[in-house]
């Protein structure tokens, strides 16, 4: 009994320390005490060099680049508003800091705690032509709004022959593993939405990408879901162009050119793939082409197929569970389009078909070692 109490006390101390330093809410990046977290971030953020054409840059992390994008969106469109749970004081991930002060409480405001209401309210605003930027606090909590997204937002234009639409709606939500988020602060629900005609689903890998893609989503004439890899909010820092710029939706980006294997991912996993490409070169002498899909639906099969026709091998990796994951869709299409070019069965390295676990996260994620093994399998096939 005494020993149990000691253990509990220790645990309590540990918890309170790590909570203070890095609560899931305030600071998603683990900073120390819990060794377990390091495994989850067993990847290095690979910054891009900002395109010179976009001019002056400043150092921003992911959440700052998102704030910057929303600042620009509100500044250039007087109908644009931002709303959701706790966005007024700056958001639990600091993405909307300062915007309520700058643009007023009728443009950046808190809603009651109700996801179906948030999305429904945004659809209503967009249905009369306003720009609605809704925040769902975690992608894990988007499901109460599933009906509003799938049955309403996605079908609004189609069902009335384009007399009404909700193109002004963008739903932003933190997404993906974070080291210790367990079942309800780690999910990657993009495949659920990949099955829904009428919405666009977009996931950035970096601050430069996040700003350009979010501005594209906000200004796109279709309802968009923008998933933000929350483990990158603070960890990803790079030089981001300060000007107003947009990056194209529905276009994948080849970020490393290679000749032997195509590695496809999105969000944080792109950085894992970067390392896999390096390891494959070093350990196996294999040249990998790394592609960031960026838009999940409608997805850019052309860029992927072109790459696979060159390399003859494809690995798709995502954090979400394997069965019904979006890799399945990509693989089915690629094998149909590139059958004669394929030199090995297409591999997918994904989360397992379990809920996302707390302490087992290091064993759950499709990390670089699992991905490297898949590359090896393809090369030796």
């Amino acid at each position: 009994m005494a020993s149990l109490r000691t253990t509990l006390n220790k645990l309590g101390k540990l918890c309170s320390q790590s909570w203070r330093k890095s609560t899931v809410l305030r600071n998603p990046v683990c900073q120390g005490n819990l060794q377990i977290c390091r495994h989850a971030s067993a990847w290095k953020f690979v910054p891009d060099s900002p395109p010179e054409s976009l001019g002056e840059t400043t150092k921003m992390n992911l959440f700052q680049s998102l704030t910057n994008a929303m600042d620009i969106a509100l500044g250039t469109d007087s109908t644009a508003v931002i709303f959701g749970e706790d966005v007024a004081f700056g958001g639990v991930f600091r993405c909307t800091v300062g915007l309520a002060d700058k643009y007023g409480k009728d443009r950046v405001f808190n809603t009651p705690l109700c996801e179906q209401g948030i999305v429904g309210f945004g659809i209503g605003m967009a249905s009369v032509g306003a720009t609605a930027i809704a925040e769902i606090q975690f992608a894990d909590y988007i499901y109460p709004a599933f009906d509003q997204i799938v049955n309403e937002a996605a079908k609004f234009r189609y069902r009335c022959g384009n007399i009404f639409d909700v193109g002004g709606l963008t739903i932003r939500t933190p997404w993906g593993a974070v080291g210790h988020g367990a079942l309800y602060h780690s999910q990657c629900p993009e495949a659920f939405f990949g099955h829904v005609p009428g919405i666009k689903v977009v996931i950035p890998r970096s601050p430069i990408q996040a700003k350009g893609l979010l501005l594209s989503c906000i200004r796109d004439k279709n309802p968009c879901i923008f998933f933000e890899p929350k483990v990158l909010y603070r960890a990803a820092v790079e030089q981001v162009p300060v000007q107003d710029y947009m990056l194209p939706l529905e276009q994948a980006e080849v970020i490393v050119e290679g000749s032997d294997v195509t590695l496809l991912a999105w969000g944080t996993q792109v950085h894992v793939m970067h390392e896999v490409a390096q390891l494959a070169q070093e350990k196996l002498g294999v040249s990998c082409e790394v592609i960031d899909l960026r838009t999940i639906v409608p997805w850019d099969s052309e860029t992927i197929c072109k790459s696979v026709q060159k390399t003859g091998r494809l690995l798709v990796a995502h954090e979400a569970p394997i069965t019904g994951g979006f890799a399945g869709e990509i693989i089915a299409t690629v094998q149909a389009e590139c059958f004669l070019h394929l030199e090995a069965p297409i591999q997918r390295v994904c989360g397992y078909d379990t809920p996302f676990p707390h302490i087992f996260e290091p064993f759950y994620l499709p990390d670089k070692w699992r991905c490297l093994e898949a590359v090896k399998t393809m090369i030796n096939y």
Binding site: S78, G120, I123, V128, G129, D147, R159, N222, E250
Partner: protein, 447 residues
């Protein structure tokens, strides 16, 4: 200025001309209409000796006696009425004093809707359209409320509100075309019958999922208010839909965000087969309004003047004070739920007969008009013949038209088709070239 254009382009042109919104007067109106959303107010803490409750969650007083608030003890919210079943005004002060032209329009719209219902219901029975839902018994709720709102007010309906469109001048051929899904239907036949929508008439397209339109109405009201327009939104829903989570969301959002929205509940006693006794245990829907901090009223839905008065007053509150209002109109669903339902399986014929013969909104208004000498047997006969002729003409016209080209199955998923969708359309074209005889292509426009 450019940035406000999206809002402007989406509200009706009439709106634009009338308001000529500029950034500047939006700002002015913003102040007048109290746009601020209150948050971040810090409470000033009193001295320790102050014995009043200081909890942030409720403004209240302490009590030292344990007493639960009984959900059933208080008197139910009364049902506001203006005229009795015989069409007699009960309290002259409450008479809206509408002139003969308006009242006659009300009557004609109600009977026109009734006539369309009869023809389309029958046409479904004959397999000529796939589905239909009548509005029998609820015509008064549609017309009374539609007459009281501004034509610019955006309407978000459930599916049993065709009368609102008729009042607003939605052409009958568009109704027929929608039900037939022919090549004149603006929705390209994509939705089931009675899922009407019209940009011109500020009526958002109906969708089948219940109550989803309720938070839309709240959001749209908020956006229109921000655009500086003195309009509100009107959201219709049934007593059954009010049980959905979206109803809770909408009422709470509209209240906390000060959205000028009228929530109009048609409480007709049934949700398909489910009587209200299995739908809720409280005092109907109206009693929920105060729980959300919302002005609420219950009216006799078969009394078109009571509905009119309540809606008119609600609109004034919504627009002038920037707040939502809840109206519960008590009525009775005289018809079957839909053509897929036989209501005699769960309710008695006598019950239906009572409402149809003894307390019907059309009969009541007719009595009023006859009493005023505004209506007669001759006028009734002539009108009925005229409206029936029009309905039959439009019906036959709609039936003769072909269905739209199958290419419209593929458009409007996005503003522009995705590459994959273009590819899928080509696949369909190829397929139909080869297997044409297996598809009803003769009934459709060419691909």
């Amino acid at each position: 200025m450019a940035s406000i254009r999206p809002v402007l382009s989406s509200v009706s042109r009439r709106c634009l001309q009338r308001f000529c919104i500029s950034e500047r007067n939006v700002k002015v109106l913003s102040i007048v209409r109290n746009l601020s959303v209150s948050h971040g107010v810090r409470q000033e803490m009193p001295s320790v000796n102050d014995d009043k409750p200081q909890f942030p969650g409720a403004r209240s007083s302490f009590t030292e006696k344990l007493k639960f608030l009984d959900g059933t003890v208080y008197d139910p919210i009364p049902i506001y009425r203006v005229m009795n079943k015989m069409g007699k005004i009960i309290d002259a002060d409450e008479d809206p004093g509408l002139d003969q032209t308006v009242v006659e329009k009300m009557y004609k719209c109600m009977t026109k809707l009734n006539g369309i219902d009869k023809i389309l219901y029958e046409s479904q029975r004959q397999g000529r359209i796939s589905f239909y839902m009548t509005s029998y018994g609820e015509e008064g709720t549609h017309i009374g409320s539609a007459a009281a709102i501004d034509p610019r007010d955006m309407v978000y309906g459930q599916y049993r509100e065709g009368g609102v469109l008729i009042w607003r001048g939605f052409p009958m051929d568009k109704m027929m075309n929608q039900c037939y899904g022919n090549n004149e239907d603006i929705g390209y036949g994509r939705q089931m019958p009675v899922h009407y929508g019209s940009k011109e008439h500020n009526f958002a397209a109906i969708s089948s999922p219940l109550a989803t339109q309720m938070p839309h109405a709240a959001g749209a009201a908020f956006a229109l208010k921000r655009a500086g327009l003195d309009v509100c939104t009107v959201c219709y829903f049934g007593d059954g839909a009010a049980s959905e989570g979206d109803a809770h969301a909408a009422l709470n959002f509209a209240a906390t965000l000060d959205a000028p929205c009228i929530f109009f509940c048609r409480n007709n006693g049934y949700a398909i087969s489910t009587p209200t006794s299995e739908q809720y245990r409280g005092d109907g829907i109206a009693c929920r309004g105060p729980a959300y901090g919302m002005s609420s009223v219950r009216v006799d839905g078969n009394d078109v003047f009571a509905v009119y008065n309540a809606t008119k007053a609600a609109r004034e509150m919504a627009v002038n004070e920037s707040k939502p209002v809840l109206i519960e109109a008590m009525t009775y669903r005289t018809g079957h739920h839909s053509t897929s339902d036989d209501s005699s399986a769960y309710r008695s014929v006598d019950e239906v007969r009572y409402w149809d013969k003894e307390d019907h909104p059309i009969g009541r208004l007719r009595n009023y008009m006859v009493e005023k000498n505004w209506w007669s047997v001759e006028k009734e006969k002539a009108w009925m013949a005229e409206v029936k002729k029009e309905i039959m003409q439009e019906f036959e016209k709609a039936e003769k038209l072909k269905k739209p080209s199958p290419k419209y199955m593929m458009s409007d998923v996005f503003d522009k088709p995705s590459k994959r969708l273009i590819q899928q359309e080509q696949e369909l074209r190829q397929h139909l070239k080869q297997y044409k005889e297996h598809y009803p292509t003769d009934k459709f426009d060419d691909l």
